[in-house]
């Protein structure tokens, strides 16, 4: 879907981005991860031509983006800014309707779409005629997201969209983000310097340093097959938590069924097999369940396990990874 080839950007002598190449498949969520100043924002802005590259090519849907007018290109790409960039002189409704207005949608269609998005983002209609400065940071961020999504672009670029939020709000928005069906249809490139966020939301992570991509792979790849010591050290600090996030249930071998039988009064939740081990822990911790029913749609089977069984499966998987 998006193909970046030998892309470079030099600001005078500073090589902000240095010959990077990567690819994002349709409906995939790519994370650009790295420390401050490593060139993430510059990379992202070259994709919607807010910054013109010094060298290299970018293709979206196999079309060279430099052969289109920048305005047309941008209207087909959603963009969420780090500090939201909402228009202070527009109401929430008007802010969301900017791109439809540019695309000359009729009024009814715009209104319907705005209402639909507000609902999906859990904001009531009361907010429609409110100005951005009357909203909380989290609400503003959601409006920023709605604005980017409104014309249903195939591609979404997000620059540290949750950077300014506190931890509690951020994990709440993460959850909403993952649940939003609209986003599942999109090809997303998201910038962050937060490793946890990268592991939680990314299908695929490019770890950058000084304008170069150090490693490009799935969260598990980075964690269990670090290319060099930089990658290893970058992930070292919160390793266990990351492992929980990197490993998905369907990667585990099915645990052996233990002695415990389903007793009366036991609480059982259903869970999809493509979630991370982290969500499993959340179910045990916050919902107080005794056992989980794992529904594996891909292989068309269902199995169940309790906390101890799942934990031992997790450690077994880890052991395998390191032996390989």
């Amino acid at each position: 879907m998006i193909k970046v080839q030998k892309l470079s950007k030099h600001f005078g002598k500073v090589k902000a981005v240095d010959e990077i190449s990567f690819e994002v498949k349709e409906h995939e969520n790519l994370i650009l991860l790295g420390t401050s100043g490593c060139g993430k924002t510059t990379t992202l802005k070259m994709i919607n031509r807010l910054i013109e590259p010094s060298a290299g090519n970018i293709f979206i849907d196999s079309k060279n983006i430099f052969e289109q007018s920048p305005e047309t290109l941008r209207r087909g790409i959603g963009y969420v800014l780090q500090n939201n960039g909402l228009f202070p002189h527009y109401t929430v409704a008007e802010n969301i309707a900017i791109v439809p207005q540019l695309l000359k949608w009729d009024k009814k269609r715009t209104e319907k779409r705005v209402a639909e998005l507000l609902e999906k983002l859990h904001l009531t209609k009361d907010y429609l005629n409110v100005y951005p400065n009357e909203l909380s940071g989290g609400q503003q961020q959601r409006i920023g997201l709605a604005r980017a999504l409104v014309a249903d672009p195939a591609v979404l670029l997000m620059d540290e969209p949750f950077g300014a939020l506190d931890n509690v709000t951020r994990s709440k928005i993460h959850a909403e983000f993952k649940a939003l069906d609209e986003l599942k249809r999109k090809t997303i490139i998201m910038v962050t310097h937060d490793v946890q966020e990268a592991f939680e939301l990314g299908d695929h992570i490019c770890l950058m340093d000084q304008g170069k991509i150090i490693q490009d792979g799935t969260p598990a790849d980075l964690l269990f097959n670090p290319k060099n010591s930089f990658v290893k050290e970058f992930l070292q600090e919160q390793k266990l938590q990351l492992e929980f996030k990197a490993i998905k249930l369907n990667q585990l071998s099915r645990p052996l069924k233990g002695e415990a039988e389903k007793g009366v009064g036991q609480k059982v939740n259903n869970i999809s097999a493509d979630v991370s081990f982290w969500s499993v822990l959340e179910h045990f911790k916050f919902d107080g369940v005794d056992e989980l029913n794992v529904i594996d749609k891909e292989n068309n089977e269902t199995w169940s396990a309790n906390f101890e069984e799942l934990m031992s499966a997790f450690y077994q998987y880890k052991k395998q990874q390191f032996h390989e």
Partner: protein
């Protein structure tokens, strides 16, 4: 106080027609200028946000324009645009430009970069960003600039009357030169009120919320246009020739009022400041002007004085006036001062004034050259027999006369001199004389009569047609009242006069004011 207010009120009622016209002219003038200033300043302000290289020079030039004294700026305009509305509007808009350009620039550059980036990223074109994002967000700052510009313009617009563009300045400056407080206030109070009202109204706009501001942004140009249309050039009647008179001349019996009543002169008249009037005549913007018959500019601009054949302008013959005590103390003084009697006629005085005012020669040099040429000059003697104190009013002609007298005294006697030049106007100079601060100074018969003695109008009327009767009267009265002696007249008459370009007067064969009237009536 109460009486004063009453009379002001009466004055305003009596002059309500004029007051209304002037106020409307003032508002119109302000808003025409403002409207054009916005039309120029706003795009220019936007331009320099795009081409930052130009921002320094553009803002710099606008700032410099604002420091140019208004009267000088108006003066520069005359050769380019003549007199009247055009140069006034251009000068006013130049003053209004800086706050508008500057605030547009700071307003737009102050728009949050993230908001602009968001607009770009959503696919807005440059123009869409300008009109939908930058201008609306910069609007409060731009309004503040327009507000400042309005207040400046209302103030400076009073000066428009200097170059015959009308407005409340006519009352203000007329009142100042006629020493008529009511007239000053009748102009100054409405001008101040206008500034306060416009400032208040615009500050209200400023506080409106963003939504309403959008409609205002559309309505404001319309409003400006309507207010601008209030300005029209009052041309009650057009005549073959055009006159420009100073506000002072306009209001005096021995000025324009006399021209109308005694000569029946009917001429299209503009009110204009003395500083630019001569030049305007030279530039053929005006044909007839009021002036002083010995003014150096008469020569500089090649003008000719029309003969006042019905003698409506009182004679202003110059003569030294001396304390009688001083004449006793300095026995030789009277004889020495009379050396100059009859030596300087109108055109000689005009030429001397021309040398100081236009060639910028020092009064001392002009005085010495004059004495040498007339074989009166002698080198200074020892100066041991006491000091004669010479006074002079604060203008060139008096400086020259004071210098001449000083040189004569030093050359012909053993007295020394001290000159107290620049004693302000008549009142200060005369008070200095009566209080024994100076021994003598050159005074004019008309001033002695009208400003110092101030007899009844009837007496004045009976005297002023004759130069000798006026001289005899002031001589007698000064002696009686103040123990001050008028010595022999120097010769020239620095009176009010109507003047025209030499060439035109000759071409039309106009030599006297009656000639002028006949020509106009033909």
């Amino acid at each position: 106080m109460n009486e004063q207010q009453q009379t002001l009120w009466e004055f305003m009622q009596q002059q309500s027609d004029k007051l209304l016209t002037q106020t409307l002219q003032h508002i119109g003038l302000t808003f025409v200028s403002l409207f054009i200033a916005v039309l120029i300043g706003l795009p220019l302000g936007i331009f320099i946000t795009r081409k930052k290289n130009f921002s320094g020079p553009v803002l710099g030039i606008a700032s410099i324009l604002q420091t140019v004294p208004s009267i000088a700026l108006l003066g520069f305009m005359i050769p380019l645009l003549g007199i009247g509305a055009k140069p006034a509007i251009v000068a006013l808009l130049l003053y209004a430009l800086l706050p508008i350009i500057r605030n547009t620039y700071t307003g737009i550059t102050g728009v949050d970069a993230a908001v602009k980036e968001a607009a770009t990223a959503m696919g807005m074109s440059k123009w869409q960003i300008l009109f939908k994002v930058e201008l609306p967000l910069a609007m409060p700052v731009i309004f503040a600039g327009i507000r400042t510009a309005t207040v400046i313009t209302v103030g400076v617009a009073t000066l428009a009357s200097y170059i015959a563009a009308g407005g409340l300045g006519e009352f203000i400056f007329g009142g100042i030169s006629l020493n008529n407080t009511n007239m000053i206030l009748a102009g100054a109070i409405p001008a101040a009120l206008l500034a306060i009202i416009f400032d208040f109204l615009l500050s209200r706009l400023h506080k409106l919320n963003i939504k309403k501001l959008r409609t205002v942004t559309i309505d404001l140009p319309l409003l400006l246009l309507v207010l601008s249309s209030l300005y029209f050039i009052p041309s009650a009647y057009g005549t073959k020739l055009k006159a420009g008179f100073t506000p002072e001349f306009m209001g005096r019996q021995d000025g324009n009022l006399g021209l109308i009543s005694k000569y029946g002169l009917k001429i299209q008249t503009l009110v204009i400041n003395d500083a630019v009037m001569y030049k305007a005549a030279y530039e053929k913007q005006l044909d007839v002007i009021s002036g002083y018959s010995t003014d150096g500019r008469l020569k500089a601009y090649d003008l000719v004085v029309l003969d006042d054949d019905k003698k409506i302008f009182p004679p202003y013959y110059a003569a030294p006036i001396v304390r009688e005590n001083s004449l006793k103390k300095f026995a030789l003084l009277e004889k020495i001062l009379n050396l100059l009697a009859g030596k300087i006629n109108d055109s000689t005085m005009t030429a001397l004034n021309y040398k100081t005012d236009y060639l910028h020669q020092s009064p001392e040099r002009v005085a010495k050259d004059f004495l040498v040429a007339n074989k009166l000059w002698k080198p200074a003697r020892n100066g041991n027999d006491g000091i004669v104190r010479i006074g002079s009013k604060i203008f060139g002609e008096q400086y020259i006369l004071a210098s001449i007298y000083s040189m004569l005294i030093k050359g012909y006697t053993n007295y020394d001199t001290s000159t107290k030049t620049g004693l302000g106007g008549t009142k200060i100079c005369f008070d200095a004389l009566t209080n024994d601060q100076i021994d003598f100074y050159p005074e004019y018969t008309g001033t002695g009569l009208l400003a110092i003695l101030q007899p009844s109008p009837k007496t004045i009327d009976s005297l002023t047609h004759s130069k000798d009767e006026t001289y005899n009267y002031v001589q007698k009265e000064f002696e009686k009242k103040y123990k001050i002696k008028w010595l022999k007249p120097i010769g020239f008459n620095n009176a009010y006069a109507l003047m025209m370009r030499k060439k035109q007067a000759k071409g039309l064969n106009i030599k006297t004011i009656s000639n002028l009237k006949r020509y106009l009536d033909r």
